[in-house]
């Protein structure tokens, strides 16, 4: 890999006349395998690296990146004519080195052979695909008085079966993603994949096209999706500042029942998929209590938006790679644990739905309108499951959804392992949340 680290000293002297600078050096190493229909199709080992510089000169700022060390040797600061800075960049003044998770020690060949076995086809299954990778990412952030280095070890697997009978087709998906190696958990994931194959076949018999207004219980996967997609995005400080969030002006206001709390927590815990010690501006990442006892308490900030909105910077700046300027992003976003027993939440339901596992979602943060895909629904009558449905959607307005929460379960589960897209950047996000019950939700 190109050695960008050795360029840092020279670069710092070139940037000495800047009012502020931040150098970002990144290197990635990845082992990837695609297994399909019983065969190992693709194996890749990739490594790449690059460097970026953000600097300011009076009211002008510029961001430059390259993956070619020769470009860096030629780099010179330029001063633009048009003002492009509306805050005073600051640095964390932290000097530290951290490692998140451990490198994989599993025998790659053994693992991928197991993956291939799991993807073998059987009756009604027309396609089985597993993507698996281990990735080590090192990021170093250097400013005049800051030098933060963080290495994260990622382990990821994704299984997608496709079942078919006549003209009916059903697909499903499970994911495993940790900020650690998945040497042990990959094998329980493969057992889950076996179960999923059978469930996908079973779903060929399930009905489609359920519509109406229902009381719903969202399993932890969907409650995380609601926490992240519908609510979390609206708490991102750039959207608040730019008047693009329905939560603008609602800070310190009651927006949900007292028993509802929701947080975004990047601090390393349970190897969740969206963890980090330091954000991509070099600030210490802290837990954000987005909703505490029903009140909108914290927002997700970068240094710029923290200044603009007069908030504390809780280290929420993230970028996909060295090629982008960090923006406010979520990490692991979930509702906090409740007091209700899931069993009772279902028993108490006269007519309603238990919605299980999301297939993605989208929100218009300016209006608060959200729409989610759901893989499976159980129709409940007097506490009993009486029917099953697939390919359902549900949606509504995020403020009304929060206000209509009537129960939050004690039971918590790992759920969201996602890649959140915003402004053309994708970052890993996770969740560990409860089941929640919401009244009168539009389905279909």
């Amino acid at each position: 890999m190109p050695d960008f680290e050795s360029h840092i000293d020279k670069l710092q002297s070139k940037l000495s006349s800047a009012d502020f600078y931040r150098i970002f050096v990144e290197s990635k190493k990845m082992q990837f395998c695609l297994a399909k229909d019983g065969q190992i199709e693709t194996v890749k080992k990739e490594s790449n690296s690059g460097i970026s510089v953000f600097y300011t000169l009076e009211k002008f700022s510029y961001f430059y990146s390259t993956n070619n060390p020769e470009d860096m040797q030629k780099f010179q600061m330029k001063k633009g004519k048009i003002k492009s800075l509306d805050y005073v960049p600051k640095e964390s003044c932290i000097k530290d080195k951290k490692e998140l998770g451990k490198e994989s020690f599993a025998d790659f060949e053994t693992v991928i052979k197991e993956l291939a076995k799991t993807t073998k086809l059987s009756k009604n299954l027309v396609s089985n695909t597993i993507n698996y990778y281990t990735k080590n990412v090192n990021r170093r952030i250097v400013c005049a008085n800051t030098d933060v280095s963080q290495t994260t070890h990622y382990g990821f697997a994704n299984f997608v079966p496709v079942a078919k009978e006549g003209q009916k087709i059903r697909t499903d998906q499970i994911r495993l993603g940790r900020t650690n190696n998945i040497d042990k958990s990959i094998f329980s994931f493969l057992s889950e994949a076996e179960e999923l194959k059978q469930n996908t076949i079973k779903k060929l018999k399930y009905k489609e096209g359920l519509r109406g207004n229902f009381d719903v219980i969202l399993n932890s996967d969907l409650s995380d999706l609601l926490a992240h997609e519908a609510f979390g995005h609206a708490t991102e400080s750039d959207l608040i500042y730019k008047n693009q969030s329905v939560l603008k002006g609602k800070l310190k206001q009651k927006i949900a029942p007292e028993f509802v709390s929701l947080s975004d927590n990047p601090t390393p815990k349970r190897d969740m998929w969206g963890c980090f010690y330091y954000d991509d501006e070099g600030f210490s990442a802290k837990k954000r209590e987005l909703v505490k006892n029903g009140e909108l308490t914290d927002l997700i900030t970068t240094e710029r938006y923290a200044q603009k909105l007069h908030l504390k910077n809780l280290g929420g700046a993230r970028c996909e790679s060295f090629e982008q300027i960090p923006i406010p992003r979520m990490s692991n976003t979930s509702f906090e644990q409740g007091k209700d027993k899931l069993e009772n939440m279902i028993k108490e339901m006269k007519t309603g739905l238990v919605l299980k596992n999301g297939s993605g979602g989208q929100v218009n943060t300016a209006t608060g309108v959200y729409q989610f895909g759901v893989k499976e629904a159980e129709l409940i009558k007097n506490g009993e499951v009486i029917d099953h449905f697939v390919n359902i959607t549900f949606g509504g307005n995020l403020i009304s959804a929060l206000q209509s929460i009537v129960a939050v379960s004690k039971e918590m589960d790992y759920s969201l392992v996602g890649f959140c897209g915003k402004d053309g950047q994708s970052v890993p996000v996770g969740g560990y949340g409860p089941n929640i019950k919401i009244k009168n939700v539009r389905v279909g």
């Binding site: 020769e70 396609s127 087709i169 730019k242 297939s359 989208q362 218009n364 309108v369 390919n391």
Partner: protein, 418 residues
């Protein structure tokens, strides 16, 4: 030493050098954000070891370790089970000189920034807005394909502009407009103000009403039509999907005969035009949907080999080069006049959450215009659409006017109910 001299292609080894530069200008209301400049140089190594195809992308500075990298790739090949040709097949490639507008190479980014600021001021002074945000993106990429005794060079320049406005009315509706430029004279950012203001006036004060969308003709503007084609058609055109028939899109499916979708990789001015794909396979014109019938799969060389079919030259970043939907004969305005009861669909929320393989979708439309007896009646918000893609396209009209959305050139789509 010249890079090309270091690369020694063989029957089983070839390279693609890719050099790109991008510049992004982002303006929020009247505030210019930090300009972003990215430069990247990569070399893709494409090899065959013992009938296994292995590719790896490296940085230019790693070229000195090529021998070691090839050794690692050889080890990687041992794990793979999917077979490939013993050596790279030879195709007859006809080089075509790009006719892209070279004037883009000398763009004045300060002028563009000032044009954007002018546009924002004009829009905000005519319509009450909560926010106006614009992004101008300039991408330049030069790819050199190196195989034994032959070298091909393809350069593309891709400027695009997006403006997003949130209205300061009770609805808080947002509206975005995207522009893709193929000729420099199209890059008239100041002049876009008129069109955007007219649209914003039309959509303001949208109201939520409980309507049954099944009773309305559905009218998809060009951007939304491009989105649904990408989701429901292009994503299902892979050769493997075709062989396994694992999606609703099969040869028994019949859309309205007016629907014709074809790929043309040789459009003079398009940045997506290319005469070969990343498998060194020549691209070609092809009819994907012909007279309403699925006609042609798209594939890479690897899957063509796996299923013993002809490659199609579609080992491309977005699977296709330039995709066209054949336009109709009538202007958009006339088709609107012919609409008794219709909904013009702006933005489709949650399309990616629907299952493209199954061809049905339940989505929310945050903004729509209701058409009654050929006239736009009012703006509506948050309408539910519950549709089957095939049924929806049984009776259609397509406008005469087309527009570009990245790789897609499409007309407006009118889905008629009867």
């Amino acid at each position: 030493m010249n890079i090309l001299e270091k690369l020694k292609p063989t029957d089983t080894l070839r390279f693609i050098i890719s050099k790109s530069k991008s510049i992004e200008i982002n303006v929020e209301k009247d505030c210019v954000q930090t300009p972003i400049e990215n430069n990247r140089t990569n070399i893709t190594i494409d090899t065959i070891f013992n009938r296994k195809k292995v590719t790896k992308t490296i940085e230019l500075s790693n070229l000195n370790n090529l021998k070691q990298i090839l050794e690692e790739m050889k080890n990687t090949a041992k794990f793979q089970e999917l077979e490939f040709y013993p050596k790279f097949p030879k195709f007859k490639i006809k080089k075509i000189t790009s006719k892209q507008d070279k004037r883009f190479e000398k763009l004045d980014f300060d002028k563009i920034t000032n044009d954007i600021l002018f546009l924002h001021k004009k829009v905000s002074s005519n319509v009450k807005t909560k926010s106006v945000q614009s992004i101008f993106e300039y991408d330049e990429c030069e790819e050199t394909f190196i195989e034994i005794s032959k070298t091909y060079k393809i350069k593309s320049i891709n400027p695009a502009f997006t403006v997003e406005v949130a209205l300061a009315d009770k609805s808080g509706t947002t509206f975005d407009k995207m522009y893709f430029f193929h000729k420099k004279e199209e890059l008239q950012i100041r002049s876009f103000a008129k069109e955007i203001i007219a649209k914003l006036k039309q959509i303001k004060d949208s109201k939520e009403e409980n309507i049954d969308s099944q009773k309305y003709d559905l009218i998809f503007p060009q951007k939304e039509f491009a989105e649904i084609i990408s989701h429901f058609i292009i994503s299902n055109t892979g050769l493997e999907s075709h062989i396994k028939a694992d999606s609703y899109l099969n040869q028994n499916i019949l859309f309205d005969k007016k629907l014709n979708i074809f790929e043309d990789p040789f459009v003079d001015y398009s940045p997506n035009s290319t005469y070969l794909d990343s498998d060194f396979v020549p691209t070609c014109k092809k009819e994907i949907i012909k007279d309403g019938k699925y006609n042609q799969y798209l594939t890479t060389l690897q899957y063509a080999f796996k299923y013993k079919k002809e490659p199609t030259g579609n080992a491309l970043d977005s699977r296709i080069s330039n995709l066209f939907v054949k336009c109709g004969n009538k202007p958009y305005e006339n088709l609107i006049k012919e609409t008794k009861k219709g909904l013009i669909i702006y933005q489709i929320l949650g399309l990616h959450t629907t299952n493209s393989k199954e061809g049905s979708f339940n989505v929310v439309v945050p903004l729509a215009l209701e058409v009654e007896n050929g006239k736009i009646k009012k703006a509506l918000k948050n309408i539910s659409l519950n549709e089957n893609f095939v049924k929806m396209l049984q009776k259609i009209d397509l406008s005469k006017e087309t527009n570009w959305f990245d790789h897609y050139n499409v007309p407006h789509l009118f889905c008629r109910r009867n």
